[in-house]
């Protein structure tokens, strides 16, 4: 059975490893992946712990369907208290590590304490060993994986690693696997760095039982046909997530020069089709037929001949529009560097763009930057800033602290130019014309975030009938829903529905590009219910899955409240309200968010969640979800 996997508790201070079975009741309640990670975080971290101290925990969890015949179920979820925000630290990535850890016998790792010198974990067929990582320290994320394979003499080992950014406690460093798969956001890499944990390596050959093999094979084929016949998938098979940037720049929904415009005209060189010319092909994560990862060699310059993978949507913003650059070489090199250093491309680009606007406004000068000319559009300066952040040199040392700490250090009115929520920078998109997406970033548990909830199909002008079908399942909803993305009414429910959709797949270990994110006909709660049954034998209804996702989201909220979150943090930067968009199609031009309507939207959002006016889940809600006794210490 896929469910026979174990949990391991690893104490790095005392160098002990304990394992335990996972009660089936907890599986049914939280599924796995992000769901059980949130349970473990709420149960194992002492309230108020220092995110970079030994009291924080580093969690690693495979989704419930990882390694089974559920298409694109390759996600590994990582968690802890975020060194960036002080709230939920949570990120997941694809690649091949998650199935390998399951094949090695484990679904969940709870890593505590701090090693006295660099170590890595070696997981192999039911055993976990804490090994010396002195020889890996200082190496980039990919070389570290190769060195582990060489040291242990097995090319099939899959590893999660941190690069030098994680070692240097850059507060937005990632944990990486393969060439470019990054558990990118909230600074999990810095948690690992603070624990002297360089890597977790896995190799296993233990069978993952499939409850109904023949039916599961046939159903997987059905799902693959469903997914790959969508136009969005066909586009992604060629252009990856870059295509989203192309479409949103065409409309006028991207961040330009930090947050000074919403469209960058005549940027032909960084259009997805132009970058695609450099690609030698695409790569897929375990079992996925969408294969959205580009593969390329850098041509020219100091990194010429280097093999790299990506870039994605976010890097087109980070090293393109947002820093005022329109050179694909900068995007391709920048993407390669953040992946080697193990650093969140989004936060890196945002910090540089912010510094550039401060430079433009005279808040930062060449005196502060040691002569680095941080003018928008300076390609060399962008690459140099990436290097400085990863190594914490010069101005990079301040930017590596993330938005709020950096603003405090720089002072003056620098904080006004930050495009962040709860201390985490926003995606390189502009939500001023789209109240639904604005609400999503303002309320997301991680901070400004497009992966807790992104009702992107709100932009598709779908007829109300179609919207009712999507947003009315598996929980009935008869409130307002409209096809106009400029509306405020009905959107709070879309945000909540999408929270549960993403929560569900994050618990199952399935990729969000196999959901109603960018395609209304993608697999949904009904399909997941069937996948769970055929692969694991567990009978969970679509509503049961929704409930698990809601438990997960509610625990995140409880964690954030415990760590001091207040209602005023569910809010947007002033520029969303005060500076209307200046470019794009008529429908997005001259738009800004209305404070009063937005406040009402948040009220409605809390009400639908059954949270009180302060955003605290009501007692009855906790009871109905079975969360009234947390922390319950069952694991």
């Amino acid at each position: 059975m896929a469910l026979k996997r174990k949990i391991a508790y690893i104490d790095l201070t005392n160098r002990t490893v304990k394992t335990a079975s996972i009660p089936i009741e907890l599986r049914k309640k939280f599924l796995g992946g992000r769901g059980l990670d949130m349970y473990l975080l709420y149960n194992h971290m002492e309230p108020g712990a220092d995110a970079l101290g030994p009291g924080n925990v580093a969690l690693v969890s495979a989704g419930l369907l990882v390694g089974t015949l559920a298409s694109a179920s390759a996600r590994i979820h990582l968690a802890g208290k975020s060194p960036l925000t002080g709230f939920i630290g949570s990120a997941n990535c694809g690649g091949f590590f998650a199935p390998e850890m399951r094949l090695a016998g484990f679904d969940h790792l709870v890593i505590k304490g701090k090693a006295d010198k660099p170590v890595y974990l070696w997981i192999h067929n039911g055993d976990i060993e804490i090994r010396d990582a002195g020889h890996l320290w200082g190496h980039n994320a990919q070389d570290s994986q190769t060195l582990i394979r060489e040291e242990l003499g097995d090319d099939d080992i899959q590893s999660l690693t941190i690069g030098v950014a994680g070692e240097n406690l850059v507060r937005f460093s990632c944990v990486m696997t393969s060439m470019k798969n990054a558990a990118g956001r909230t600074g999990i890499g810095a948690i690992w760095g603070s624990k002297n944990l360089k890597a977790v390596a896995a190799r296993g050959t233990m069978d993952i039982g499939i409850a109904h093999p023949e039916e599961a094979l046939d159903y997987n084929k059905e799902i693959i046909t469903q997914v790959t016949s969508a136009k969005v998938s066909k586009t992604m098979q060629k252009l990856g997530t870059m295509f989203i940037w192309g479409t949103t720049n065409t409309t006028g929904l991207v961040r330009v020069r930090n947050f000074q415009s919403n469209q960058i005209p005549h940027a032909d060189d960084i259009e997805p089709e132009s970058i695609e010319e450099e690609m030698i092909g695409t790569a897929g994560c375990f079992g996925c037929q969408v294969h959205c990862r580009g593969r390329y060699f850098i041509k020219g310059g100091p990194y010429s001949g280097t093999y790299a993978e990506g870039p994605e949507y976010t890097s087109l913003g980070a090293f393109g529009a947002e820093v005022g650059c329109t050179s694909k070489q900068t995007v391709l090199v920048g993407n390669h560097l953040v992946n080697s250093y193990g650093m969140d491309t989004l936060e890196t680009g945002s910090m540089i763009a912010w510094a550039m606007e401060l430079f433009e406004k005279g808040i930062l000068t060449e005196k502060d930057t040691n002569g680095l000319d941080l003018s928008f559009g300076n390609n060399d300066a962008v690459i140099e800033a990436v290097n400085q952040i990863a190594h914490r040199e010069g101005i990079g040392d301040i930017l590596a602290e993330g938005p709020l700490r950096a603003a405090e250090k720089i002072g003056q009115n620098s904080i006004q130019y930050l495009i962040h929520v709860k201390g985490m920078s926003n995606l390189h998109s502009d939500e001023r014309p789209t109240p639904a997406l604005s609400l999503n970033i303002a309320t997301a548990s991680r901070g400004a975030d497009h992966l807790r909830s992104r009702p992107a199909i709100d932009l598709y002008h779908l007829p109300e009938k179609v919207l009712r079908k999507i947003f009315g399942n598996p929980v009935p909803y008869d409130g307002p829903l409209t096809s106009d993305f400029r509306d405020y009414e009905g959107k709070p429910w879309e945000v909540i529905w999408q929270e549960m959709c993403y929560g569900a797949v994050d618990c199952l270990g399935i990729c969000k590009y196999h959901t109603v994110f960018l395609g209304p006909n993608m697999p949904n709660f009904d399909e997941w219910s069937k996948l769970i049954y055929l692969n694991t034998g567990l009978e969970l209804s679509p509503k049961d899955i929704w409930d698990s996702a809601e438990r997960c989201y509610t625990l995140e909220k409880l964690f954030n409240l415990r760590e001091g979150q207040t209602r005023d943090m569910d809010w947007l930067p002033d520029r969303y309200f005060d500076e209307p968009t200046d470019k794009g199609l008529p429908v997005v031009r001259g738009r800004s968010i209305d404070r009063e309507k937005f406040t009402k939207m948040i009220d409605e959002y809390y009400k639908l969640h059954e949270w009180d006016k302060k955003g605290i889940p009501k007692k009855a809600k906790l009871e109905s979800l079975g969360l009234n006794n947390e922390p319950s210490h069952q694991l």
């Binding site: 059905e222 799902i223 046909t225 469903q226 016949s229 136009k231 066909k234 586009t235 098979q237 060629k238 252009l239 295509f243 192309g246 479409t247 720049n249 065409t250 409309t251 005209p265 005549h266 032909d268 259009e271 089709e273 002008h461 106009d484 400029r486 509306d487 006909n521 993608m522 009904d526 399909e527 219910s529 069937k530 049954y533 055929l534 794009g584 199609l585 008529p586 429908v587 031009r589 001259g590």
Partner: protein, 85 residues
Amino acid sequence: MSESTKKNTDKKTVKGRTSGQFRCLYCFKRITAPPGAKSTTCPHCGYAWRISWFSPGEPRIRGPVWENNEAMTRKIMAESKGGSK
């Protein structure tokens, strides 16, 4: 699993999809571009788009024809204030 789930999945697959067409990003009506065309103007609203083909039969909008888009948008905004909400 239930029959209804199965039917649901069938409905969501390739049958009945439109190919060779794309939707105008301004008026959202379907446009057919001549095979291999690098740009085309929407016959319904007049917005001009640069086209790319991710497969021989499947076009998508690569980007605006910038001058056309800016002129069109300014005209529309002047006439109707952008249909502000």
